[in-house]
Each structure stands twice: as C-alpha cells, then as structure tokens.
C-alpha cells in the first residue's frame, strides 16, 4: 500500500492547483483521478474566464477568493508559461433601472476589493465596443477580467506539480475511504489502496458522494447544466471585452465572450438537471442562447456557430464549501466549486494549505522548488520566422498533421509525452481536431502517432477513455500497414 501525506481526490483545476501549491513543501502527495486523463470532468467545460470579482456576495468565500485568485492567476500564468489575456469585462444595462443596479454592483464589488471599476456610458461603448447593441445605455467596466484556457491551465499546474514530486494516478477511482485511528485514512480505489494522513476531496460533481464515504453528508451536489456555443474564429474581433448581462438569481446569464484560442463563445444556459453525466446539448438551448446573445450583440448569426458542448456545474448552495471536517479529522472538503471556481483556484489552494497547517500538517519549504514551467510551442501562435527556426532545429515541426489549426507531428508527440492518452487529450493540448474540419483530415495520423507512442492497438484508441473507442475492428490482415515512425513514412 502506498503511503502519502496528502491524497487529493479529483484532478481538475482545483485538485491540480492544490497539488501545485502543496508541492512547495516537503510532502508526499498524490492526485487520484478517475478518468483516463486530468480535467476530463467539470474543468474541460469551463468557459475560461478569470473574473474580476464582481457579482459575488460580500462576506463570502467566493467573493474573497475570487479577487485574490484573479491577482494570483496573473502572476502564476507567467511562471507556468500559459497565456493570460486581460480583455476586461462589461456588465451592461438596457434601462435606467438596470443602470442603478449596476451602480449597486459596483459598490459591492469595491467592498470586496475589486480594483479599477468604472461606469461607462453609451458614447464610450460606441467607441470601445462598436458591435454592442445600441439599446445598451450604460455598462460597468471591470478591466481586470481575463481569459485563459481552463484545461491547459490544469495540465500546466499538473506538470509543474509533477516536476516538484507530485504523483498523478489516472483511472483511479476512489470507492471507499476508511479512517484509520489517529493515522488518517485508507483510500480504496479501482487501482489499489492509498494510505494518507490527509485527504482532500476535490471531486467536482461527485464531491458529495466522496464526502459521504467518510460519513459527512450535509451537502448535496445538484448539477446545473450549461450549454455553450463556439463561433468561427473569423469572428474573433466581434467584441473587444467579455460582455455580461445583469446577473439573474442563479446564474451570470448568457454571455458573449472571447476565449483563449480565439473563437468567440456564447452561452451558457443554466438548467438544473438530475444527471451527473448527461452532457447533451439541445435545440431549445441553442435558440435561447442565440437570442440572448443577439440581444447583446445583434450581428451574431446562427451560421457563425461551429461547435457546441455542455458542462455541468457542481452546484451546492450559495458559497464554496471549503472546510476541515471535524467528524472525519484529516478530511478536507473542497466542494460546490462552481463559478468563480477557476478564478479562485490558486486562492483556494492557499486556503487549503492553511487549513492543512492548522490541522497538524507540517509545511516545510523545499530547498529547490521549480517555480517555472517553460511555455510550450504552438505553431499557430508564433510568427513564421520562429516557425522556420524551429523546423531547422527539429524537422518534426515541419510535418503538419492538422491543417486547419497548423499543428505539427512534433507538437502531437510532445502532448502525448505530457500526458495525452486520448484523442480529446491531444485536442485540448494542441488544438488538433478543434478546427474547421473537426478531425476529418487528421484523425488517422493522430491515431497512428498515439498507437506508436503508447503501444495501444488501433481498437484501443479512444476519444476520451474506455467506452469511447474510435473503431470497432481491425481488418488489416491483408493490408501492409506502414507504421508512423518507419523510414518510408519519414520521407
């Protein structure tokens, strides 16, 4: 049985943030993730917004940790080599009543410490956000809002955590957590047992079920589905800021936002559902999002929508649930982390670190902590001159696999080295298959590279783990298959 100081159940943005923070100290840490790859749960459907901190209740964990997290994310994004773009946010008002509500929001946000907020009028909006509806009379401008790639953030945090000694165990689903007298817990999983002095429950949609394993069942995760719709990258500059309507009771509303990869995105819906696994989108969702988005930016067209997906928010009550459970000493719940969870992640990690310390975990700083992570190379985001330099250094950069997003074989291999085991994993890390043709041209080569690098058979290559295999059977007994890495295919 493996023995750890801290075991983190759940490898999304929260679990990986906590792991990276704790990896500063001399601790034996493991992340247990039930899917084939990290961030395949809640995190992959995140919209990628780093919120300024408005629209959170004063005196809430959400409020405090969001503001703190915004500042920390900026700093850490530089350390960990990920793009953070400060695009700013506009919460818009369509009439005087709404404008007054915005003023109220501004006051509350300033109490929370959100910096540089200002009210702007229609002439400011006409100059700085020309495609915004002319029906908008005023807006609250929050310049510190930004965008980031949520799953790449989780991968980068994980990679840095691993460099600093954290173990990551995928396909490892926690099934039972038993307290061991005064010694912590035994975590029984689909892949063996883990002994841990402290267990952190960052299990997203299943956090209530994991918490129940130690007898703490005072909260329930009620999934709230959000459907999102991506627009063609050609429309990248349809807006300059993130556009928000006034918030409703349980959601921030349908937004028109920019994403880190360039595609604008509209959505999400907010629908309470029963299922923790149903990620289907709907025609009604599309219609609702389109009409709400067009109210904000009238020139948005249904034909511009090139992809859509849904996510499930792990909603539970009004605020984050981040606490040490007295009923199960050593067990810390980090649950109900819906918006602004991504923004708050680094601050949540610090809070959890404090909670661990005040419950007896000795935090001794390592002498050598690898604070930085080198930014990885994406051909689609560097100038051609640099591409030329790269190709001269390593021919693999000149072997283009995904034509729509200009992704080279070298980048694909790098992504597999960094943890991609599935076609979705490659897509999230490199953008191969995320372009116009949605994988029609590049899938066969991606499959071959994955087979070569991981030893999987063609029938074992999956979209996102077991059950989502791409093909049913091999028929190649008569076909002379030339392996991807062979001399002939390198010509």
């Amino acid at each position: 049985m493996h023995s750890y100081d801290v075991v983190i159940i759940g490898g999304g943005v929260i679990g990986t943030s906590i792991a990276r923070e704790l990896s500063r100290h001399k601790l034996k840490i493991a992340i247990l993730e039930k899917e084939e790859e990290l961030a395949f749960g809640v995190s992959k459907s995140n919209s990628g917004i780093i919120h300024p901190g408005t629209q959170n209740p004063v005196n809430s964990l959400k409020g405090r940790l969001c503001v703190q997290g915004n500042a920390l994310t900026r700093k850490m994004s530089k350390e960990l080599g990920i793009d953070f773009k400060e695009v700013g946010e506009l919460i818009v008002a369509f009439n005087e009543e709404e404008r007054l509500k915005l003023v109220g929001l501004k006051d509350e946000a300033e109490t929370l410490g959100v910096p540089r907020l200002k009210m702007v009028d229609s002439s400011w909006l006409e100059r700085n956000e020309p495609n915004l509806s002319r029906e908008v009379v005023a807006a609250l401008y929050a310049p510190t809002a930004g965008i980031i790639s949520p799953y790449r953030w989780a991968y980068d945090l994980a990679e840095n955590a691993v460099k600093n000694g954290v173990e990551i165990h995928e396909l490892t689903k926690a099934q039972k957590v038993s307290p061991v007298d005064g010694e912590g817990f035994e975590v029984y999983t689909s892949r063996g047992e883990y002994k841990a002095r402290f267990v952190i429950n960052a299990a997203g949609l299943f956090a209530d079920e994991v918490s129940r394993m130690v007898g703490v069942d005072d909260f329930k995760i009620r999934p709230r589905k959000g459907e999102e719709f991506l627009l063609d990258k050609k429309k990248e500059n349809i807006t300059n800021h993130l556009i928000f309507p006034l918030p409703s009771k349980n959601s921030k509303g349908v937004l028109v936002i920019k994403t880190s990869d360039g595609n604008p995105m509209i959505g999400p819906t907010a629908e309470d559902v029963d299922s923790k696994v149903d990620l289907s989108t709907s025609d009604q969702g599309f219609k609702k999002v389109l009409s709400s988005a067009q109210r904000l930016v009238p020139s948005i067209n249904g034909d511009d929508v090139i992809a859509y997906f849904a996510g499930l928010r792990p909603a539970s009550g009004e605020d984050f649930i981040i606490k040490h459970e007295a009923k199960a000493p050593g067990f810390i719940n980090v649950a109900g982390i819906q918006s602004p969870g991504l923004t708050a992640a680094p601050a949540i990690a610090l809070l959890v670190s404090d909670i661990l310390k005040s419950n007896g975990l000795s935090l001794k700083r390592k002498l050598f902590f690898h604070r930085h992570r080198k930014k990885e190379i994406h051909l689609f985001s560097i100038p051609l001159e640099e591409t030329k330099r790269l190709i001269n250094k390593d021919p693999g950069y000149g072997d283009i696999i995904c034509r729509c997003e200009m992704v080279s074989a070298k980048e694909v291999r790098n992504s597999i080295e960094r943890g991609a085991r599935t076609l979705d994993g490659i897509k999230f890390r490199t953008r191969a298959q995320a372009g116009r043709c949605h994988g029609s041209f590049c899938t066969t080569r991606l499959m071959k590279i994955l087979q070569e690098e991981t030893g999987k058979r063609p029938t074992e290559v999956t979209k996102r783990g077991k059950g989502s295999e791409i093909v049913k059977e091999e028929r190649s007994s008569d076909v002379i298959a030339r392996p991807e890495g062979s001399k002939q295919s390198q010509l």
Binding site: S282, N392, G465, S468, K472, R475, D478, A481
Partner: protein, 325 residues
C-alpha cells in the same frame, strides 16, 4: 526566396491535370506542392469504380484513375513535385510560404493555380443536438479508415445525407459486414448520382427515409441511438412523427465546402455562401494570375469533370504567363 513560373497548390486530380495541361501548353517551370505523403489526393481512398467513364472512356477505380496522371507527372521534365508540403501563406503578390519536414520554403510565382479541393460539412455545422460520443464520422474519414487503414469504424450505421459519398460508404460498410440501419435524407429525393442510388442503396435493400432528419444523437461515450423526425416542406420538424434507431455509428454526408482559406487570406474575393472564389470567368479569381480549379473552385460530382476543369485552368495559367513576358 526562389522564383518559379507556375506554382500549383494541391496534387489531387485537379492539381495533377492542371500541371500536365500547363506543361503541354508550354510552361516549363512548374512546382507542384502537395501536403499529403502521396500524389493523388482524395482519389487514393476511393477504391470504388466509376472514374474515367468520360475522361478515358474506361471504368476505373480512384487509384487507377489517379495513376494515369501520376505516370505523366513523375519524372516529367519541368514539373517538380514537393510532397508533405503544406502551404501556410499566400500573398496577392503570389508569394507562397510552405513548410515540410526540415524546411520552410518561400517561393514567388508568376502564376498560381489553387487546387486545394474541399472538406466535408460536419455534424457541428448542421447543428444536431445531443451528446458528443465517439462513433460520429464524416463519410470521407470513415472511407479512409476502412480503405487505407484497414479499420472498421462501426457495425450498425445510420447515414445522414444521401449525397454520393454517403451512398458509396453505405455500400462499403455493407460489403465489410456492417449493417446500414438507414439513410436519412432531408430532401424529397436523393442528392447523389442515380447510379449510386441504384448500386449502393437499391441493390442492397438499404432503407432510405426521405423528408427526414436526425434530431438528436444519443450515447454517453459511444453512439447508442439516434432520434429521427419527419420534416415538412419547409424542413421544420414534425415532432409527432419521430422514432429512434439504435446504432453505434453516425456517418455524416451532408455536403462539401471548397477549401479556400489560403486565397481568402491573400485577399481574393470569396462568396460567403459557397466559400468559392467570386469569378467572372471560369477558373479566374479576383486577383489576376491566381487561378482556382477543381473542387476548390466549384463542387463537382465527378472526378472526370474536375480533370477537365483543371486542364482549362492549366492552359489559362500558361496564357497568363506568356502575356507577362
């Protein structure tokens, strides 16, 4: 930067025919850039027959048809073939940047012929609600998986769209022992060639539902079933007339889009609806000296017509180059 008389982007049936025609019209300095590892383009995966009926007066498979052109190109003086060469940029001054393993090339051409073919419309573009499981393929990808990779994508298939590629693949799957549960076509009749309807659907007793569409895809990790619904004459769903079909594969054959992102970047005028270049004369674009042929100019039903069209583009490019001297 190198200087060439004629650069042709794409060495499928269009690019190859254009190269041969340009050479026969007197152009002696041609660079043929192909992003794949072989000449032939999409023909390489079209193992069915029906090619060459008009052009060669023979019945050939895709690779056989393609090899007639490859024979003329390989080793032909005046035509340089560069494989694995992906053009990343084209300017209106006809300067092309391309990359291949180990090299980034920069070339200025007197004339450019774009023969970049087309891509398929995907599930996302036609807005089908439901989940995103594995098992959803464009017909072309399924064709490549079966014919080139020797892999069977699925065993119980629903084909969306009765275009030629879908019909051909319905037969292909059947020949491999898979079951085509249905072909779903939103129009009142098939969009494909009559011979394909006869030889692929009727000959194999495959059920076709005209005036229907897929309203939803089900399946958490792999396709499990589809919801099918009848539509009215305005293509609106009639909810009371719906049913479900269990399947593990959805094959999308709902249309082709010319690939013209490169010339769009160069400033060529593009028709937003069709993605084809706006053109006063066949094969010409709004930039003199930049020509377009084959499926990237207009979606053709037969490779034979592509070759004819491309041959014309080749002679026009030759004439243009002569006029420059």
């Amino acid at each position: 930067m190198t200087e060439r008389d004629l650069v042709i982007v794409g060495a499928g049936p269009a690019g190859m025919a254009a190269a041969i025609s340009a050479r026969e019209s007197g152009v002696s300095d041609i660079l043929l850039l192909e992003r794949d590892q072989h000449l032939g383009g999409i023909l390489n995966q079209c193992v069915h027959t029906g090619f060459g009926i008009e052009y060669f007066k023979e019945v050939l498979t895709g690779p056989e048809y393609s090899s007639r052109f490859i024979e003329k190109i390989e080793g032909a003086p005046g035509i340089e073939v560069s494989l694995r060469s992906f053009v990343v940029k084209l300017t209106k001054e006809k300067i092309l940047t391309y990359i291949k393993p180990g090299i980034m090339g920069l070339v200025r051409a007197k004339a450019v012929i774009m023969a970049t073919g087309c891509r398929e419309k995907t599930r996302e573009m036609v807005h089908i609600a439901g989940t995103r499981p594995s098992g959803i393929f464009s017909a072309g990808l399924a064709q490549k998986l079966i014919n080139i990779e020797g892999l069977l994508p699925g065993k119980e298939v629903v084909v969306v769209g009765s275009g030629d590629i879908g019909l051909i693949m319905a037969r292909r799957f059947t020949l491999e022992g898979a079951k085509i549960k249905a072909v779903i076509e939103i129009q009142g009749k098939s969009r494909g060639l009559i011979r394909n309807v006869a030889q692929c659907i009727e000959d194999f007793d495959i059920p076709v539902y005209f005036g229907h569409k897929i309203s939803r895809i089900h399946g958490a990790n792999r396709v499990e079933k589809v919801s099918v619904v009848k539509v009215d004459e305005n293509f609106r769903e009639i909810p009371s007339q719906g049913f479900e079909i269990e399947c593990d594969t959805v094959l999308m054959s709902v249309g082709l889009i010319p690939e013209n992102e490169l010339i769009e970047m160069a400033g060529v005028e593009i028709d937003k609806k069709t993605n084809s270049p706006v053109s006063r004369e066949v094969n010409k674009t709004s930039i003199p000296g930049i020509f377009c042929c084959g499926n990237s100019f207009k979606i053709y039903d037969l490779a034979d017509w592509v070759s004819k069209d491309a041959a014309l583009a080749g002679t026009m490019a030759a004439e243009y180059i002569r006029g420059l001297k």
